[in-house]
Symmetry: C2
Subunit: 655 residues, 2 copies
Amino acid sequence: MLTILKRIVVGRPFRNERLSHTLLPKRIALPVFASDALSSVAYAPDEILLTLALAGVSAVAFSPMVGLAVMVVLLTVVASYRQNVHAYPSGGGDYEIANVNLGKYAGLTVASALLVDYVLTVAVSMSSAATYLTTAVPALHGQQALIATIGVIILALVNLRGVKEAGSVFAVPTYIFMASILGMTLVGVIQAITGQLGEAPSAQFTIVPEEGFDEGLVGIAGAFLLLRAFSSGAAALTGIEAISNGVPTFRKPKSKNAATTLLLLGVIASSMLAGIIFLANATKVHIVLDPATEFLLDGMPLPEDYIQSPAISQIAQTIFGPGSILFFIVVAATGTILVFASNTAFNGFPVLGSILAQDGYLPRQLRTRGDRLAFSNGVLALAAGALVLIIAFNADVTKLIQLYIVGVFISFTISQLGMIRHWGRELKLARDKTVRRRMLRSRTINMVGFGMTALVLMIVLITKFEQGAWIALLAMFVLFLIMWSIRAHYDNVAKELAVDEDASPRALPSRVHAVILVSHVRKPVLRALAYARASRPSRLDAITVDINTEETEHTVRDWEKLDIPVPLTVLASPYRETVTPIMEYVKNMRRDSPRDLIVVYIPEYVVGKWWEQLVHNQTALRIKTRLHFESGVMVASVPWQLKSSEEAKALQDTQ
Amino acid sequence: MLTILKRIVVGRPFRNERLSHTLLPKRIALPVFASDALSSVAYAPDEILLTLALAGVSAVAFSPMVGLAVMVVLLTVVASYRQNVHAYPSGGGDYEIANVNLGKYAGLTVASALLVDYVLTVAVSMSSAATYLTTAVPALHGQQALIATIGVIILALVNLRGVKEAGSVFAVPTYIFMASILGMTLVGVIQAITGQLGEAPSAQFTIVPEEGFDEGLVGIAGAFLLLRAFSSGAAALTGIEAISNGVPTFRKPKSKNAATTLLLLGVIASSMLAGIIFLANATKVHIVLDPATEFLLDGMPLPEDYIQSPAISQIAQTIFGPGSILFFIVVAATGTILVFASNTAFNGFPVLGSILAQDGYLPRQLRTRGDRLAFSNGVLALAAGALVLIIAFNADVTKLIQLYIVGVFISFTISQLGMIRHWGRELKLARDKTVRRRMLRSRTINMVGFGMTALVLMIVLITKFEQGAWIALLAMFVLFLIMWSIRAHYDNVAKELAVDEDASPRALPSRVHAVILVSHVRKPVLRALAYARASRPSRLDAITVDINTEETEHTVRDWEKLDIPVPLTVLASPYRETVTPIMEYVKNMRRDSPRDLIVVYIPEYVVGKWWEQLVHNQTALRIKTRLHFESGVMVASVPWQLKSSEEAKALQDTQ
């Protein structure tokens, strides 16, 4: 079957639950959980710069102000989440907080937002990684969509196989990234102080402001543009909630370590953000949305083959020199962290899926977290979604970011509101003064966090709705509807099937009639016969349908030759088909003895290869389906393993 | 399910076997079976004319000669098939003749050729019908592929619904067609005699010969072109074998009536062919492959919007006047007969498929001829194949005909060879002088037929291989391989499963262990419990897998609350998945008691809507599949019909 092919391609599966049994120390947990959050520093500064550049170079000077605002929000959200991880150490994250404190609708909204967010994380991070790759290898320019697509496929395959190593694989490159960016900042500051800091390659370009912004950032339009730049920069906050989902994997004391790691994350991310924006201004990095129309060099438009590099790349080029080893290290580390950020999504998405399935919002078979199949479904769904986005938007990071931020801030805002409620409830019960004071402090922090994230959410909605956020909201809405319908369906079925409290154990059928379906007298039928007889029914019949006179005579002859002590009835089939005569026979039996149980024994071939299933069992399957509609009838499948199934069995057993 | 949707779209199915219970008189049988053969007169003359036109207008004068040669072959084949229908009145046709007389390989070759031939009949006939439609409605010119596609889809739907009326629907239009063509010929002859016969619209065009044919039909190239024209004209023979497949539907004496009908068919078809070619020459109809490059009007190329009409259309226009009622009747009748020819293919293809399935060359579930599903599969496969061809060749009749003829003549030739062998065998047994004389005469006719069809087959292969026949041959080869593999597989399985002659009826297992799979304590599980207890096993256990602690505790509590007299075992699942713990439990039971039969009772939901199947039963299906690999284990499905399944049941019962 396809499973066997997948096993050969994808290798021995690894039980991901084993992974979660390894508890992580802070120094490993930080890189594992922080890669998503830290990686956004690869594109957030660029977005601030290019949004402001729409109003000309004077507006770009406001970037430190915008960056500062983003940092304030970031540190506030970090502080808020430190409260989350203490209050909810089970790893349910924003979904659990919303569910428990605000009800099912809020929880499902957060779940939809998170699902969309995971897909966008992969799309944005892989597109950005592709851009950085073409920076290092200019020949690949223009192929970002292809590179990103290949990257997603490789990541999906790696995750389908299962990751054997623990977080140590993530640790080293993440620390290299942190070191290289912070180190670059340090060197840049020193160069600036000693006056050795050069200018970025794009410093010489004049920026042509968009229409209406000739005077720079003035008036309502200017203020709106500032807000737009801010909301684009808010992309730097994506990924902070990952730690709240991973509290159980920390060593004890889990909440305290998680909170400390969050703090470290916040400080490091803010420093990086500040450093890059400072250096971008100091080296006069100019980044615009469309270089062809917005840049002028000595009054002339740029040549057509001009490739715009991201801010980090230009800064590294300026500080370390173009083509130097350190330049490549910075660019490579940035690309790697972006790939890791995508990988975090591949780990988190199936986990969220299994939680939702456990709550009945997704098909139940997905709730078995350790099951390779359920896990694979999640990986494939995520990869498919990301690929659709990457191809639809041609791996354009700026366009994808318009969709990215709204989901993140919806779940931030709702979870902060949930925390406010949480503390409210706890305060009603708590008596101890120290505890109450701590709770009040936490609630205040969450209130500030809520206010801020709600404000940012408003700004994001207003500034980005037309630009693409509506797509993300639509996707969230559709997911919400689907999950709601599934849950409603399961609830209805549960009601339909609920056992009446006072009902006595069902009255047993008095007698059992066994019926064996015979086509040829071969070993599978003899086995069915043996099994049927072993169950000692009140009555045992064998039936065969007369499609082809020659064949039927052969069957009857073989039956008699073997002296089988069970009578064989031949059903006529005037229209030359199998299903109707059998159904009429069974219905007649039911009419004659309505209180008896009818068990139909159907031999089934167990096949090894996928195509063999097309040529066997098809009629048996149809008969089974029709029989299932009859009450008082049960179908017993008597398997016969064909030789070809033995390899398939061996493979299955090792799973 | 999809079935329900199809039923609503396609209507109540009709038992096609009922159709075949109505025996046809000759006057109805002729139109029913002859439409395929007669319809080829709509394109065969055109092919002769345009192939000869490659050598200039002088070559076109040879068309009567070519037509005569085609007629000779046609009448020979008709005479040969009159022997076939006497010798094999069972309706097996060429396939049966080849199988019985020449062995399995020959039979399968004929089957592959016939299957490909059916597809091409639909493609060629519908494409030609589309061309005739655009002749009557010039605005539709250029849309032939679209029209043909829509036509095929409509035909497929009509056949999926089932045809209620018998052959009378076919009779009237076919007779109108015969009358109109023969009538047109008569009028044309009278006009020619009285000197009133006009010239065709294309008579004024000069034909530009292809390179190398400036001197007309000379040399080897000229002879080769003559042969090409002949082999294209041999398309007039397609459809003759249809009567040999339909002998059982004739009234008694079946063979004699079938033979007489064949004779009528041959005479009428020859007359039509002769008439059209004569009139084409008399009215100077000029038809070429590419009007843009091969036609000149007063030394200038034609305007771009020139639309080339088929010969019949031009002749009717000349004789009856353009736009006259009789002109439209002729064109409409021709289009209709072409549609009927396609319909014959839609009837014959599934029948051939069921015969092949009966012999094991196709999946067994297709052998039930009266089963709507098996029949539908054939209709859909034929429609799909025809659509692929129509779209790939853009409904170009000339291109499609290159593929058409080779399959027909392969089955002609092989069946004639088979008949020669048949008479050889019969002659060895026959003693009576009159019978022997008749047999010798039949054998001579079949020998001449064989010689001629083999010769034509060679010509067709040589002249048409490059032009497209290789595609048809490749398709036949692929079909041959697939059918051979299926048969080989079934033979291997039969060997594997054959009962040893001296084996005693299998020793019965001594005891039966019943195991019930429990997830929630709901009505389906209680039913499974009741059924399991009714079968009075030696031992009865219930198991549930601990995925979610809360859920499991709930289940155990409910179990105890209901005082169920069966012990419930909770299986631990460290990796949070269902399948492995159950398999280990079952394997342990097998190890402990290897001679006992284990019956696993799995509750299954019977759903109504297709998407409900995605959210139920998935895990049950996987467990069943894994259990089937274990020997000594049987799975009993205990159905629980959800409310939504009741409508589905009602629909199913009326099928």
